[in-house]
């Protein structure tokens, strides 16, 4: 029976393996080519295309059927064998197909977007390497390998944020991202170590599977808390949750296509994927804490996005906010909705970022042409691009509506699912628990406002930069087919038909049902009708309000000099607080340790050295003046005797004679004296 099953599964496993290996091959080939080689773009694109096709095949084989798990012994230490292999279940095949499908349009887009870069080939090395790491991360069945690929996606993200390494801001940003992710990695490593110590296996299937040991045997509670804190840190760092979220907005210094793939669609979702993998570890109370943090992050990031002027920064905070939704959904037990939102968000956020990339690209061209002194990412200088870039405009509207969760879009299905389930979760609990669904609801309206603000400022009204130079003619366009095709593809994926035949009921979506086993919330019918209506009605009003403010120039709801405005504009002062509370003390500590090292430790060593030198100086003195001195004394005595004796041998006959006389006289005198 087992042999038979394995025979069928071998093909699936090989296909999954192929999907993972293809980008790695592309990365290796591109690495061998020169840094600016033009074919590398198409090599990488071809590789990811093959990956996508293979992933879809694997997906069709595995989704909602028995899971495929194949492994073999990797190494053995003592009596413990560590296995390595591939685990394909609903979660991993969903991620597999999602990552390769989002990566494909981004690759096509990148071939045009990075065209003029000197390190075009190197860019595709990194991009393919990232795809490999991410695809491997989702299919591995082993916590050690999981950790390894977790690090590799972080590493490739680091490489790509700092891709334009001549920009100081990019270097600071990638250092920040790397260090913050390091904090999360420590947490994940701790959690893995505790899990291994408790259950003596790294196998994800054995740990968290249907009959997993985590469910049947609990760890002692203290270690369980430590493991969960570690896991939470890992999630917070990778998925940019409070308090480790500040690296993501800065990560926008990388190329926009990278922001679209890594920092919006896939890598940042790895934290949520981690939650999905490790879900059985968390206890009820810890899930509540997750929900609180997710909700807070969602709300905070949405308020910050309200006032930002940098196009990509708005989208970055929007990403943080949406990731907050996903974490919150995990926390309230809406496991399937969380992963559903992960999937839909990947498509529409990627779409929005690609739109942003095109807009920035075009504005940059105008800036270069007319020598304008404007920041090409600042939405205050944009406006009126609607007529010149119709496709981009439509794409942004589709993406924006999906982000807000407007009916007929994919976002509606996933996000309203989360909202409704959060209300169901809070049903019958005290008012503190009710804050979470209310926060989520408020966030959804804030989302409506900031995305409307973004679209209106960029695409409606007049081109603001024209006020610097009236001669400016707005000639921008949607760009080449490499820009248009990804937009159309992703627009298609942002609408409802891909996810559900019924555009209204999220419960009919196939992704939702793919994970329905875990969901166990009581259905409260009334929320299912009232909430979507409420959300959308108020949301539309908010959008119109934004239109009224920015186009018809009504008064702003908050004065720009007010505290709340500045609080939001300065991103809740998180960076400043971290700078003061963490970075400066750490620097001070390291300065102190440096001082300690230099003065105390080195001083001690130097003291020893000086003592050694002093001792040897004494020894040298002894050698020179005592030992040598004795020898010199002997020598000089000998010399003196020699000189004295030499005087008698002077060749003068009379002198010899006198000497003889003197000696004889001396002998006689001596004789007389003795006798």
């Amino acid at each position: 029976m087992e042999d038979f099953l394995q025979h069928i599964d071998t093909l699936t496993i090989n296909f999954a393996l192929g999907a993972v290996i293809m980008p790695l091959l592309a990365a290796i080939v591109n690495r061998c080519l020169p840094a600016n080689s033009k074919p590398s773009g198409w090599i990488s694109t071809l590789a990811i295309l093959v990956s996508a096709v293979l992933s879809i095949f694997v997906f069709a084989k595995v989704w909602n059927q028995h899971e495929v798990h194949q492994q073999q012994v990797w190494f053995t230490i003592g009596n413990t064998s560590v296995y390595t292999g591939i685990l394909l279940n609903n979660l991993s095949v969903l991620m597999l197909v999602l990552v390769s499908l989002v990566a494909l349009p981004v690759h096509i887009y990148s071939t045009a977007y990075m065209k003029d870069d000197d390190r075009y080939g190197r860019y595709f090395v990194y991009l393919s390497f990232f795809c490999f790491s991410m695809l491997a991360l989702v299919v591995v069945d082993n916590l050690v390998l999981f950790y390894a690929f977790w690090e590799l996606v972080g590493f490739s993200s680091y490489l790509l944020i700092g891709f334009w390494y001549t920009k100081p801001k990019a270097i600071i940003a990638n250092k920040k991202a790397f260090i913050m992710n390091r904090i999360g990695d420590i947490g994940l490593l701790t959690a893995i170590a505790i899990l291994f110590a408790s259950y003596h296996t790294f196998d994800i299937e054995q740990l968290f599977g249907a009959n997993g040991v985590v469910k049947s045997a609990a760890i002692s509670s203290n270690w369980q808390y430590v493991a969960c804190i570690g896991l939470f840190l890992a999630v917070a760092a990778k998925s940019a949750q409070f308090p480790l979220h500040t690296w993501l907005p800065d990560a926008m210094e990388g190329p926009t296509s990278i922001s679209a793939l890594i920092h919006a669609a896939t890598m940042v979702a790895a934290g949520v994927f981690l939650l999905g993998r490790f879900y059985p570890v968390f206890t009820h109370d810890e899930l509540t804490i997750l929900a609180i943090i997710g909700c807070f992050t969602a709300f905070m990031a949405a308020t910050i996005a309200l006032t930002q002027n940098d196009l990509k920064r708005i989208l970055a905070y929007s990403t943080i906010s949406q990731l907050g939704y996903m974490v919150m959904a995990m926390g309230i037990g809406a496991y399937s909705s969380s992963l559903f939102h992960l999937a839909t968000h990947a498509f529409f956020k990627c779409l929005l970022f690609l739109v942003a990339g095109i807009v920035i690209h075009e504005v940059q061209h105008m800036k270069d042409e007319y020598n304008l002194h404007i920041d090409p990412q600042n939405i205050l200088y944009m406006g009126g691009l609607r007529k010149k870039m119709p496709l981009t405009f439509i794409a942004s509207v589709v993406g924006g509506l999906a982000l807000f969760g407007f009916p007929l879009t994919s976002g509606y299905l996933s996000k309203d699912g989360i909202l409704i389930q959060s209300f169901e979760w809070a049903e019958g609990k005290d008012w503190l628990h009710k804050l979470i669904p209310i926060g989520a609801l408020l966030t959804s309206w804030l989302t409506a406002f900031y995305i409307a603000r973004l679209v209106i400022k960029v695409f409606f009204g007049e081109f603001k930069a024209a006020q610097f130079d009236p001669a400016i003619k707005l000639h921008v366009s949607d760009g080449k087919w490499q820009y248009r095709v990804p937009l159309v593809l992703l627009m298609g994926c942002s609408l409802f038909p891909l996810f559900s035949i019924n555009p209204i009921l999220y419960e009919k979506a196939w992704i939702f049902n793919g994970f329905s086993v875990i969901t166990a919330l009581d259905r409260v019918n009334i929320y299912h009708t009232i909430l979507p209506l409420l959300v959308n009605l108020v949301g539309v009003i908010v959008m119109y309000w934004a239109y009224a403010i920015y186009i018809k120039e009504k008064a702003l709801p908050l004065p720009e000099s007010g505290f709340l405005f500045r609080f939001s504009y300065r991103e809740w002062y998180f960076d400043k607080i971290y700078q003061k509370v963490i970075v400066l003390p750490v620097i001070a500590l390291s300065k102190f340790t440096r001082w300690f090292d230099r003065n105390i430790l080195d001083g001690f060593i130097h003291l020893l050295a000086k003592i050694g030198i002093g001792g040897s100086k004494i020894a040298e003195w002894c050698d020179r003046y005592l030992i040598d001195g004795f020898l010199h004394l002997l020598a000089s005595i000998t010399l003196g005797i020699g000189n004295f004796a030499r005087r008698f041998q002077n060749g003068k006959v009379q002198y010899y004679l006198f000497s003889m006389l003197a000696i004889i006289l001396a002998v006689f005198i001596f004789k007389i004296l003795i006798y």
């Binding site: 002077n650 060749g651 009379q654 004679l657």
Partner: protein, 101 residues
């Protein structure tokens, strides 16, 4: 009557004068004279002690031999001094301190 000690005193005085001359003079001839004086002091001693041998007169005989030998050595010494003078153009013994050619 002249006693033995008178002879010995004269002899000792002669020897001292000869010795002094030999040690202090800067002239080879004068040194030779000094040597002769010391030799004569010795001969004088031979003769003085010869009065205790009245039968064989060996003291006087030995003195005669010594005088003849002294004359011979003086001749040889003078010849050497003459050759030294030829070679060094001086007969100061302090300055003739090189034996090699």
């Amino acid at each position: 009557m002249i006693s033995l000690s008178d002879f010995l005193i004269v002899s000792a005085g002669l020897f001292c004068i000869g010795l002094f001359v030999t040690l202090t003079k800067r002239n080879a001839i004068q040194i030779l004279i000094g040597i002769e004086l010391m030799l004569n002091a010795a001969i004088l001693n031979l003769i003085a002690f010869g009065k205790y041998d009245r039968f064989t007169n060996s003291g006087q005989t030995f003195a005669l031999f010594a005088i003849v030998l002294a004359a011979a050595t003086t001749a040889v010494a003078l010849a050497i001094i003459l050759n030294v003078y030829k070679k060094y153009k001086t007969i100061d013994p302090d300055k003739t301190d090189q034996l090699k050619d």
